[in-house]
């Protein structure tokens, strides 16, 4: 099985990343925005692993590993925050969280 070129993987990862960005921009639900961020991180990981294979190194894998761990840490904090917000406001629609503005 002939390996697929790294460029192809990077393009797929760029597309996934952009879809993640789009999710943050158009979803109003905080949880979904957050999931979109996870998608962006995931896309970055894909690029990392692809590059790692190109250079035949494990650095890329290690970096991916760290990104995943940190994503987990972010999830813990983020979901706790979302739950706390929901408890006090009965909503997690970010468009309704706009008391603070100029």
């Amino acid at each position: 099985m002939e390996p697929v070129s790294t460029g192809a993987y990077v393009i797929v990862s760029a597309i996934l990343f952009t879809i993640g960005v789009l999710g943050v921009l158009i979803r109003r639900n905080a949880i979904l925005m957050f999931m979109s961020v996870e998608l962006m991180l995931n896309a970055a990981n894909l690029a990392l692993v692809a590059f790692a294979r190109e250079y035949a190194q494990v650095e890329g894998h290690v970096l991916t590993f760290f990104v995943m761990t940190i994503a987990a840490a972010e999830v813990a904090v983020g979901l706790a925050l979302i739950v706390a917000i929901f408890q006090s406001r009965e909503t997690i629609n970010v468009d309704e969280l706009s008391d603070l503005k100029q």
């Binding site: 921009l25 925005m33 970010v94 468009d95 706009s98 603070l100 503005k101």
Partner: protein, 763 residues
């Protein structure tokens, strides 16, 4: 004797010590002790300055005193030390500042007696001395700038000193404390504009010369020696000051010698990616400095803050806003005389103007304009304030004409007699207020016609409420008279000699600028004599026009004694530069490279004196031989009709202003109000920046082209309002839109970073 110079830091240290003592333990001392500590600190400073001047008498070349390292970046070749310069110029300023300062400190002990902020006042005064002495004693532009900013700060604090004053202004009915606050703000903001120019000038100096140190003046003995530091040696240096591609190479110690060398070499300075000839660069630097001068020394167009600054206590008006701080601009130009004289030979501006020419025109116009407005004011301090603006115009015009000695000479004599006049005016006000209270204790007599009673408070500064004070306050009268004669330029008082030198410089310049300045200054001098005559006659002669004036009392000795000293100097200071010996001129020549001594011109002096006497005669005609005021309170000059109103209403400034600024602005305001949320309009823009500055600006005196500065201030407010409106639309509080902002930024950034590479790759 150079060892004596090492005392220089003590000149600054003395008031600093006084300041610290009062700051930390002043609260536990009695009022009088606080005042005397501050005064003694100032006096000590004067003594040290005097010692320095003895040292200079022995070795007149002067020198720099290293105090400590300051900003130092060895790799970049930046090494700015905190050096003090001891030479005849700086010591002259020190003597004037510390001398007049000491007298004013003593006077203030009496004047501020019983004021709740007594200690604060003296702390500020001492701080001001520290700042002003720093300004004049620095050996480089950065120290000068530190002092420059600090005096601005002190001025700001002292103008707003009586911020809690509850009385209402008799004319506008606004609370005095608010007015004082507004005046302080205005002074600060207007000065920032000037300071900005000066800062740019300093940056450019650094950029061009690689240093900010003044260095020794190049032409050690002026033009007549034909030296210029030796044109031959400069030519020899030419090779090393310019690199082979014609760029200037900073090489020496001081700014001035390098400026001379660069000019001789005719090299270029790199500014960004373009090359600027050194002459144009120096012109640019000096023009930016002029912006600083117009701010600090209250010249057109930035003079608007000074008349309002009289909101501060009278000793402050005398010390800061008449005698010392406002002359900083004149000092700065004199200090930079080498740059100005070099710029005089460069014509890159339109109409063949040069930057000293610009300075001359600004000074002469200011002198004339302020002189006319002073003719038609009733407030005793306001007359003096406009007079100060006018006299500063004289000095600025003088230094612009190259008459550095004349400018500095007038600076010194003006410091004496204007301080005297302000302090005497304070004494008059003090006396009238006293009389007012006294009259209230025994309320008898018919309903009297007074001015400024409209809100139940007598305006003790309105000259229409005075009259006949000669008998009530004899000491004040005599010193006031001396001050007025000195200011009016009557032989043999100080003002005559110094003003005459300025006129002479304008006359001997001989070019169009010189003639222009001569005509305007001559007229302004006649106006000066007239309004001083008018003032003296209105205040001291005739019959008392109010109960307050009738019951006025002489001020306590602690106030009058300093006045006598000042009066003495106002009378004799002119002999410093007696035409035969020119001792002041020779003294200054040691440190001002381009100072030249002008010969006395009898015809010119006679003409000026004649004009002054004529003006005083007219003043007497209108204000002495006939009652100063008609029954309806109209001024005698009212016969001028429209012209009088024009002057009294400050060149129709209010109406003009209403027309060009307020109405359009109100229109804009309504437009904004219709569009914006209420809280915004109740917010700072509307209330503070726009409304207040417009309101206050409407009260701003005598200005005809205020629109420039007010346009700038209010334009800024308007700009901020627009920006806020836009930002309000962007800053919505919605997370998703912030994220959108991030994405837009990312795209733009990627374009900036990637596109050039992409183009390069494909190309």
């Amino acid at each position: 004797m150079e060892g004596l110079f090492n005392l220089a830091p003590l000149v600054i240290l003395a008031p600093a010590v006084g300041l610290l003592i009062n700051l930390f333990i002043g609260g536990r001392l009695r009022e009088r002790s606080v005042g005397w500590i501050a005064s003694i600190a100032a006096g000590t400073s004067f003594v040290f300055a005097a010692v320095l001047s003895f040292g200079l008498a022995r070795s007149p070349a002067g020198g720099a005193v290293y105090v400590t390292d300051w900003v130092k970046l060895p790799l970049a070749g930046v090494d700015i030390a905190w050096d003090l310069r001891v030479d005849t110029l700086s010591v002259t300023m020190m003597l004037a500042v510390a001398g007049v300062g000491t007298l004013i400190h003593v006077y203030a002990i009496g004047y501020m007696h019983g004021d709740a902020g007594f200690r604060r006042f003296f702390v500020y005064l001492n701080l001001f001395l520290v700042a002003m002495l720093t300004l004049v004693s620095g050996n480089n532009y950065l120290v000068l700038f530190v002092g420059w900013e600090l005096v601005g700060l002190c001025s700001f604090l002292l103008i707003g000193f009586w911020l809690h004053k509850p009385e209402r202004d008799p004319e506008t009915g606004e609370i005095a404390g608010y007015k004082n606050t507004a005046a302080a703000k205005k002074a600060f903001i207007v000065n920032r504009v000037g300071d900005f120019g000066f800062l740019l000038a300093i940056l450019l100096i650094f950029w061009t010369f690689g240093t900010l140190t003044y260095g020794p003046p190049v032409a050690a003995h002026g033009e007549e020696d034909g030296a210029h530091g030796g044109a031959a040696t400069l030519a020899a240096q030419e090779a090393e000051v310019a690199s082979e591609d014609g760029l200037c190479v900073p090489h020496g110690e001081g700014v001035f010698e390098m400026a001379e060398a660069f000019m001789a070499a005719g090299c270029d300075v790199k500014l960004g990616s373009s090359r600027v000839p050194i002459g144009a660069m120096i012109t640019l630097i000096t023009l930016l400095m002029i912006l600083g001068v117009t701010g600090k020394s209250a010249q057109i167009p930035l003079f608007v803050w000074l008349p309002d600054a009289m909101a501060g206590p009278t000793p402050v008006s005398a010390l800061i806003h008449a005698a010392t701080m406002v002359t900083a601009g004149v000092y700065m130009v004199t200090r930079s005389n080498v740059l100005y004289e070099l710029a005089r030979g460069v014509s890159v501006l339109p109409f063949g103007l040069t930057s000293p020419g610009v300075l001359t025109i600004i000074g002469a116009l200011t002198a004339f304009m302020a002189g006319t407005v002073a003719l038609a004011q009733w407030d005793i301090k306001r007359v003096l304030a406009f007079s100060t603006v006018s006299q500063l115009g004289f000095m600025v015009a003088a230094v612009g004409l190259g008459g550095y000695i004349a400018g500095m000479f007038h600076l010194v004599t003006h410091a004496f007699f204007k301080a005297l006049l302000f302090l005497s005016a304070g004494s008059v006000i003090h006396g009238v207020e006293h009389g007012h209270h006294h009259a209230h204790d025994a309320p008898e007599g018919p309903e009297e016609k007074t001015f400024g009673y409209r809100h139940g408070v007598l305006d003790p500064q309105d000259m229409r409420n005075m009259g006949g004070l000669r008998q009530k306050m004899p000491a004040t009268f005599w010193v006031y008279l001396i001050g007025a004669l000195a200011l009016a330029g009557i032989v043999p008082f100080a003002g005559f000699w110094s003003k005459d030198e300025i006129l002479l410089d304008a006359y001997s310049r001989g070019d169009a600028t010189g003639w222009f300045a001569l005509i305007l200054l001559m007229t302004a001098a006649a106006f000066t004599a007239f309004y001083m005559g008018r003032q003296v006659f209105m205040i001291f002669f005739g019959a008392p026009r109010t109960q307050a004036a009738a019951h006025a009392q002489e001020s306590p000795p602690i106030m009058t004694r300093p006045l006598v000293v000042l009066a003495f100097f106002s009378a004799v200071a002119g002999f410093l530069n007696w035409p035969g010996t020119h001792s002041f001129g020779h003294w200054l020549q040691e440190s001002v490279a381009y100072a030249h001594i002008a010969d006395f011109n009898l015809a010119l002096a006679l003409l000026a004196t004649l004009l002054a006497l004529l003006a005083i005669f007219f003043a007497a005609l209108l204000y002495y031989w006939r009652p100063a005021l008609r029954a309806d309170g109209a001024d005698r000059l009212g016969g001028l009709g429209r012209l009088w109103r024009f002057l009294n209403r400050k060149w129709y400034w209010d109406e003009f202003y209403e027309l060009i600024a307020v109405q359009p602005f109100n229109g804009i305001g309504r437009f904004l109000a219709g569009r914006l949320d209420g809280d915004f309009l109740h917010d700072w823009f509307h209330d503070t920046l726009i409304w207040r500055s417009f309101d206050r600006a409407a009260a701003f005196l005598g200005a005809f082209d205020l629109k420039i500065i007010d346009g700038a201030v209010n334009g800024l407010g308007w700009l901020a309002a627009q920006a806020a409106r836009y930002l309000r639309r962007v800053q919505t509080g919605y997370v998703r839109q912030y994220a959108l902002g991030v994405l837009v930024g990312a795209i733009v950034l990627l374009f900036i970073l990637v596109l050039p590479l992409l183009i390069a790759n494909s190309g």
